[in-house]
């Protein structure tokens, strides 16, 4: 499909179930419309592109990795999580209405050519390694790369 000369750039800072859902939904819709689309994952948002294994090196890093475990299957909603009950409830409610799950949405983004980049500084702070991320992540980058992509895009979202 011919590109229409526009583009979409999404900064995914939040790692909440609902906000990752919003990010992948907009990214897939944008890519479906033929817009070059990039997602820049930073801080909690990195959880959305982690494989889900435990992370961290030092004591505090391991604690963050345990208390805020990455991977789509571990994401809880920003409200009404109630220690995981909310996550179960939302998943059930969404499935009953034919709404795609996070895994399916992320795969749709990948299939449609959405480019995933991840913030180097956040990875260092959270002690997340490249091996903790899904292989579809194209590169580990800095803020300048995020800015360049945002500048090139006609639509930018910060989620």
């Amino acid at each position: 499909m011919a590109e229409n000369g526009k583009g979409c750039m999404i900064v995914q800072m939040s790692g909440d179930f609902d906000k990752v859902f919003a990010g992948f939904t907009l990214a897939s819709a944008s890519a479906a419309a033929g817009m070059p689309t990039t997602m820049f994952f930073t801080f909690w948002g990195i959880k959305a592109i982690q494989t889900g294994n435990l992370t961290g090196k030092g004591l505090m890093g391991r604690m963050v990795g345990l208390m805020n475990r990455g991977g789509l299957q571990h994401l809880g909603p920003s409200k009404f999580n109630f220690g995981g009950v909310g996550r179960w409830m939302f998943k059930k409610m969404m499935a009953s209405k034919g709404v795609a799950g996070l895994e399916e949405l992320r795969q749709a983004c990948i299939d449609l050519g959405v480019k995933f980049y991840v913030c180097k500084t956040s990875m260092d702070v959270m002690e997340i390694r490249r091996e903790d991320l899904i292989p579809e992540v194209l590169d580990v980058v800095g803020a300048a790369k995020a800015m360049r992509d945002a500048d090139a895009a006609s639509v930018q979202y910060f989620i």
């Binding site: 479906a32 419309a33 034919g98």
Partner: protein, 79 residues
Amino acid sequence: MQGITPDKVQESVGQACPMPIVNMAKNMRTMSADQVLEIKADDEGAHADVRAWCEQTGNVFLGEENAGEYFRYFVRKKA
């Protein structure tokens, strides 16, 4: 839509936003210019979404038809 014979039919009944559009984009990539894709969908958002997608991508929205339990949308791939 009488007189339109789709080259491909997409089953999106039961799917919610954005999957009907995601699948439509994927299907259209496999089709040639001037071919027609029919999308069967019952998501209320599809009324606006299929049209909006066509407007943005330059593909031609041919029309929609109420089939009772769902709607049929017809889209022609641009040349």
